[in-house]
Symmetry: C2
Subunit: 186 residues, 2 copies
């Protein structure tokens, strides 16, 4: 028996994307977004309300970064989501984050968040809130790499947004192999 | 020290979305997609290559469902991702899935997958692969509800796609409260 919940933005998993931009004066800004994901081979799409300082910033510089929020920095990642960059222009520093200018795009890397997508703005439509970005590069700190030099989610510990309970859930263990486990049914 | 991986579609988490549609003759079809997510309050956006049977089907019926792939059905969810509906029109049955017609949209619910979004097609652009759907309803089987009648991710056990290792990872435990944990930094 199924229970109906109506028309709601519920999905598992939802990401916790920390979007980094520069304010006009060069101070870094960051916000927290759950409505988005990969939309093509080298493209990410995220819904950003035009009221956010982030929207203004990414249009001015044509660039942004997307860091994965992690279990090690839950409070700081939540803080940048509940504090407005319009009212607290130094919110990134107040969160305890430090930043480095991306070598590839005009946007900040957050030193504490080990995995990031460096993106150029392809388009942004304030009516639909749709920001489309070109993924120029993915980079990750060596401390979250596995023995083969690949990003290890067990070290990264990315968090996800549970929209039903407003919880953050960490990504869990491996339960299968993609493009492989289904072969037994062929 | 950060390591660069280049322009790749890497993000944690990525969903495993099982998209249900009806073929022209009424048999159910399903495919597996990782590039998508919530894009607005009542909207989901997913990249669907136009070569998929799903693309043809959802345009003909104007509807589709999006079930969360679960750890309990990893092999079946992977199977519908590696088998083409153009070549195996009864792939849903071969996966061991059973279906029920959605009471709200002209698309199938997969009985084995407890949580589903029932969607109407808003737009589909074959050039960008962008399918935008209106979320008409979210429903979930009672067996995955918690004591308050809400969807319980620990019972649902949704899986996610690890694009770095091509693994499926189950969603893990709670590590924080959204809109709350950041207050300590205010």
């Amino acid at each position: 028996m199924r229970k109906n919940f109506g028309a709601k933005p519920l999905l598992y998993p939802q990401p916790v994307l920390i979007i980094g931009t520069y304010n006009a004066d060069g101070t870094p800004n960051a916000m927290n977004a759950a409505w988005g994901g990969i939309s093509e081979e080298k493209e990410i799409t995220i819904c950003i309300d035009s009221a956010h300082k982030t929207a203004e910033n990414l249009l001015q510089r044509g660039a942004f970064t997307v860091s994965m929020a992690t279990a090690d920095y839950v409070a700081a990642c939540d803080y940048v989501g509940i504090t407005s960059g319009n009212q607290v222009p130094d919110k990134v520093a107040r969160a305890g984050f430090h930043t480095t200018h991306s070598p590839l795009v005009d946007a900040p890397l957050i030193d504490e968040l080990p995995m990031v997508l460096e993106c150029r703005v392809i388009s942004y439509d304030t009516d639909t809130c749709r920001l489309v970005g070109e993924i120029v590069n993915v980079s990750a700190d060596e401390r979250v790499l596995d023995a083969e030099g690949k990003i290890d989610p067990a070290k990264l510990r990315p968090i996800t947004y549970d929209a039903v309970h407003h919880h953050y859930l960490v990504l869990g263990e491996k339960v299968g192999n993609a493009f492989s486990d289904g072969k037994q049914l062929k």
